[in-house]
């Protein structure tokens, strides 16, 4: 009986797998279309094209930064089934660590050369990521490892440790507002007719896209990425194939913490002034993004971040203070449509 084979579509019929260049995956473009539609629909509501462009670019930049900050959270939850509410603390640590380099890098920061400014940003990011990665490694051993599998304890412990870390940051740095001035060459805006687009927002978008592409390539083209994707679905089976998943867990957690630090730096530059609550302020939004994106999905996190950033920016312009309410509405609508998130990961 050739019944089974006949149910297959001919697209992948090939005698040599090595030659088959046909993609087996169908890309789900619906969420992307929805985002574009959302942007388009906002134009008539806002009224003016220049304002609309400014808001949309601002939302893109903010979305990128939220994506970077939340990507670590979704991977950690997807792979390790750990709800780390202390993730916000890493954002704050990243931001604060960045301020340490303001003095030493003053020449780079004040130079009008674009390359100097970019170099300064890269240096600050690298430093902050190393620090937050190291902190993440310690944090995982102290606070996460003992409570694997117990969601309730995870929520409690990670909140407690977030408080402790934030207080320690205050002990070290003091309770004053922190300043992180933008490098000279990325200040100000590009002018296109009536439209002003801040230079730094473009930098943020570029960084965000680089991170997204980097993560996607890592997950889809490398062996480590293969392990992570498989582990998100079915941890036990990955172990049964002979891999010690614990090492992968720690690696993902450390990477997630470093990403939070990176996001913190970008966000701190954006605001130029911040307090220790810089992470906690976006915690709710990060959680919403992770839920609507689909736990464990990087693409979902990206799409979710865009949606939340767009709704925040548009609503802040139209009805100030109701941005958070609009985020909740977006979450409820998305969950009603796709209860497992925009790009659900099929969990075992």
């Amino acid at each position: 009986m050739a019944a089974i084979e006949s149910t297959l579509t001919p697209e992948t019929a090939t005698s040599s797998p090595a030659l088959a260049a046909l993609p087996g995956r169908t890309r789900d473009l619906v969420p992307g279309a929805i985002i574009l539609a959302f942007i388009a629909m906002a134009l008539p509501v806002i009224g003016s094209v220049p304002t609309w462009i400014t808001l949309t670019v601002a939302a893109l930049a903010m979305g990128m930064m939220l994506f970077i900050m939340a990507s670590g959270l979704t991977l950690v939850f997807g792979l390790m089934d750990v709800m780390n509410l202390g993730h916000a603390a890493f954002v704050a640590v990243g931001a604060y660590t960045a301020t340490l380099l303001v003095g030493p890098l003053r020449h780079l920061l004040e130079s009008p050369s674009v390359w100097a400014s970019l170099a300064a940003i890269v240096a600050v990011i690298a430093f902050a990521m190393v620090v937050t990665a190291a902190l993440g490694w310690v944090y995982e051993r102290l606070f996460i490892k003992p409570v694997y599998g117990d969601h309730l304890k995870q929520i409690l412990i990670t909140i407690g440790s977030m408080i402790v870390i934030e207080q320690l940051v205050l002990v070290i740095f003091g309770a004053n507002q922190m300043l992180l001035p933008l490098p000279e060459a990325v200040r100000g805006s590009f002018l296109f007719g009536d439209v002003a687009i801040e230079r730094y927002r473009l930098v943020a978008v570029v960084v965000g896209v680089v991170v997204f592409i980097g993560l996607t390539l890592l997950l889809n083209r490398t062996r480590v990425g293969l392990l992570i994707r498989a582990g998100v679905e079915n941890r036990a089976m990955v172990e049964a194939l002979g891999y010690r998943i614990r090492g992968i867990f720690v690696g993902v957690f450390v990477a997630g913490s470093a990403l939070a630090g990176l996001g913190g730096v970008m966000w701190a530059f954006y605001r130029e002034q911040f307090t220790v609550a810089i992470g906690a302020e976006v915690l709710v939004q990060m959680l919403i993004i992770v839920i609507i994106g689909g736990l464990g999905s990087v693409t979902g996190c990206f799409a979710g971040a865009m949606l939340i950033a767009l709704s925040t920016n548009y609503v802040s312009f139209l009805l100030p203070d109701l941005a958070l309410v609009s985020n909740i509405l977006v979450m409820m609508v998305v969950l009603l449509w796709r209860p497992q998130g925009l790009y659900p990961v099929h969990k075992h």
Binding site: A3, T14, G24, R25, L226, R229, M237, E239
Partner: protein, 253 residues
């Protein structure tokens, strides 16, 4: 009958590949395995029979380290694996095909197999042999695991288990819900594996499928082994079949 007895003795004289002694497993408050004594001789196919809920899957999972035995010892190839963790057990040369096949839905068939090739690259000769066993694999090589039918998934699951040479394969109810053509395909694959000196421990409820395939058989009930011996002996003794398996003469399970 005399040949069967001689074969039995010979099998017992060679040291078994896998030996469970007095193994108990608790899952939460449930006492599933209540003193399992199981011997899996080297080479050949040992079948683990029993009705639903007897503890067959739990036995496989305990061997694989997915459940920790609360009492008893497990010996594999002369080494004590009772306290070993799953990755270590796998690296000793045991492959596991669970009841739900454990295929990664988001990964393509190729990626599923690549993950199983722990050395990092495919052995081309071995891959060709697998394609010989399951020609259909080539057709859905690049499709995500989640889009495959039950039969296709089962092929991938078994291919994944044998992509690297293993000493022991643990396979849990592979024929459940599959069309007869695929079941034949699987039987063929098992024969070829036996010919390559791979030891297989197969959990099945379908006695008809295994009676020609199996060399040794163990029957489980209520968390214990209630019968162990050669498949030939059980196959020939219908009264024994009826008592152990509730099979009536002429019935096809």
């Amino acid at each position: 009958m005399p040949e069967a007895r001689i074969q039995d003795t010979r099998a017992q004289e060679a040291s078994p590949l896998l030996a469970l002694a007095g193994v108990h497993t608790h899952i939460g408050e449930y006492h599933i395995l209540q003193g399992v004594d199981l011997v899996v001789p080297r080479a050949g196919l040992t079948v683990l029979l029993g009705r639903n809920g007897a503890g067959k899957s739990t036995t496989l999972r305990t061997i694989m380290g997915l459940w920790q035995a609360s009492r008893g010892t497990l010996m594999f190839d002369g080494a004590d694996i009772t306290a070993d963790k799953t990755p270590e057990i796998s690296r000793r040369g045991i492959a596991f095909v669970p009841e739900d096949m454990g295929i990664f839905s988001g990964l393509t068939v190729q990626e599923n197999l690549r993950l199983a090739a722990i050395s990092g690259r495919f052995d081309e000769a071995r891959l060709d042999w697998i394609f010989g066993l399951f020609p259909a694999l080539k057709r859905f090589w690049l499709r995500p695991g989640g889009t495959l039918s039950g039969g296709q998934k089962q092929m991938v699951a078994i291919a994944r288990a044998i992509i690297e040479p293993r000493k022991l394969l643990l396979i849990d109810e592979p024929t459940k819900g599959l069309a007869p053509a695929i079941v034949d395909n699987l039987a063929q694959a098992f024969e070829e594996l036996k010919a390559r000196d791979t030891t297989i421990l197969l959990v099945e409820q379908n006695f008809h499928f295994v009676r020609s395939l199996g060399d040794h058989v163990a029957v489980m009930d209520d968390g214990r082994i209630v019968h162990a011996g050669s498949m030939q002996a059980l196959s020939a003794d219908e009264a024994l079949q009826a008592r152990l398996l509730g099979l009536h003469a002429g019935a096809v399970h």
